[in-house]
Symmetry: C2
Subunit: 301 residues, 2 copies
């Protein structure tokens, strides 16, 4: 980085706070993660959480600057960083919101909103930036699986469009709180998942097959792991089927980790796409580091 | 009816018990409705509820027979009436389950299951029977809106196929428990509903537009009534779009009452269909009366 000392980088999302202590070369010295989500923390309450969890780092390393992305920048959060439209994505460093603490400057990265005002993201813009720092020539679709999965089209180094799907939240609601809950249980049945995926990719009416999971269980006492895998396969398969018309070429980059990301990879490969998986944490660090570097260049210039 | 005295007819569904006291001519003498759903009442607990709520009728009219349809016939309910396949729909009266109480015979109507074992109904088979008693020549699609909406194809007086959609439950979960809940509120905005309907009828990717309801609210402070109407229009519109390939001809009969049924009628008419609406209560009474008459003929013969 273009300055001395240590820095705090962070991705403060709806339900989790992830922070990294990095040195001037961008090397990660320490990391922490808590469940203090920015989704419900109002103003000073967020500041109090930040002060508490970073206290050990501040006592020992005296970081001067923290750069945070994610829901922390929402209206009513700690400090609002108003949305930019995707055509101004490369200007993120010029539009960070500022907050001065007694011993540290906090900068919050803006989110993006579509020009049509029908979609928003906060945090993913920084991970996507990280991907382009790792792979400057990447062109194609980027998918960031989560409770609210983002699909983004990158063309010529610019975000051409993006879209949010609620599949993760739908899956949680249907598996825990709907009439399907009796018919689903822990475990992964790859055959049940793949069959459901194939159905959903081939039939735009897949959402009309959800109740069948209950009927299967009632009439044939289907294994709950197969029921859960079928539910997941139908929902993710239907989402990927909706995404396919937007995917130019055969390259899809997934940014994420864990089972959910693996499921998206499985469905996309089943549909014939070349898929690479990048860690969400690494992409966030790369994106925040890039923003930090540009900020210091701006300041130094 | 083919016997003397009074009878109890009933539709005992997942979340409600509806009973009618009828005379030998099928004339409704009295009716009652409670929230004692059969979805959770096990065995004797259902019997205790039935005895309690029918006590005034039994004291005054001494009905000899009760005929009930709906979830009361599920496995683990009061008395199981195993599912029939649709080709045996006309044999419902021969397959009612029996239970003898000290002062009354209780008969429970079977539900239907598809031959492929991927769908079931309990209660709707009786309402559909009621429709065919009112309109013996009806051919076409029948839609029974509800938490789990049933779509049924009637051809040559037989149930050719049926299918369940979970739209009602999805709407309840998304509007009350998802990230959309901030963006929706009471009221009906007919323009927002119709626009969403048109989008969903024309674009099989409508389910990918749900998150936009939240973005609209975040960025443009959209009226929550418009948000709720848009959610409803997208979900019901997408369901009707899935149903259209199965609808032969232009006749659709809706069995139901209230706002939900009116919304389905609005979407179907928007899509170009001739829609008639029949009361769910009247169709249930007609269907149960038909089953009663056939039972007495069987007994008398």
């Amino acid at each position: 980085m273009g300055a001395e000392g240590t820095f705090i980088l962070g991705d403060w999302g709806t339900s989790a706070l992830r922070l990294w202590l990095v040195d001037a070369d961008g090397f990660v010295l320490d990391r922490l993660q808590t469940t203090d989500g920015a989704g419900t923390l109002q103003g000073d309450a967020a500041g109090a959480v930040f002060s508490r969890v970073t206290q050990p780092w501040r006592a020992k390393h005296s970081p001067r600057i923290a750069i945070l992305c994610g829901m922390v920048g929402r209206r009513g959060g700690w400090v609002e960083a108003p949305y930019l439209t995707p055509d101004r994505w490369s200007e993120l460093p010029q539009h960070v919101a500022h907050l001065r603490l007694p011993d540290m400057d906090v900068r919050v990265v803006p989110g993006l909103r579509t020009r049509a005002a029908d979609d928003v993201m906060r945090g993913e813009e920084t991970q996507i930036l990280g991907l382009t720092r790792h792979q400057p020539d990447f062109d194609g679709a980027i998918c960031l699986p989560g409770t609210h999965t983002k699909w983004c089209q990158l063309a010529g180094g610019q975000i051409a469009s993006f879209r949010t799907e609620m599949t993760g939240e739908l899956f949680a609601l249907l598996s825990r709180s709907s009439v399907l809950r009796d018919a689903v249980g822990p475990g992964f049945d790859d055959a049940a998942f793949d069959i459901a995926t194939a159905e959903a990719l081939n039939d735009p009416r897949a959402m009309g097959r959800l109740f069948g999971i209950r009927a299967d269980w009632l009439l044939r006492d289907t294994d709950p792991a197969a029921g859960l895998s079928r539910l997941s396969g139908l929902l993710i398969g239907a989402e990927v089927a909706r995404a396919i018309p937007d995917i130019n070429g055969q390259n899809v980059a997934l940014i994420g980790t864990g089972e959910l990301t693996d499921k998206y990879a499985r469905v996309l490969r089943f549909a014939g796409y070349d898929v690479q998986i990048q860690s969400g944490e690494e992409m966030a660090i790369a994106g925040l580091t890039s923003i930090a570097n540009q900020m210091f260049e701006l300041t130094d210039g």
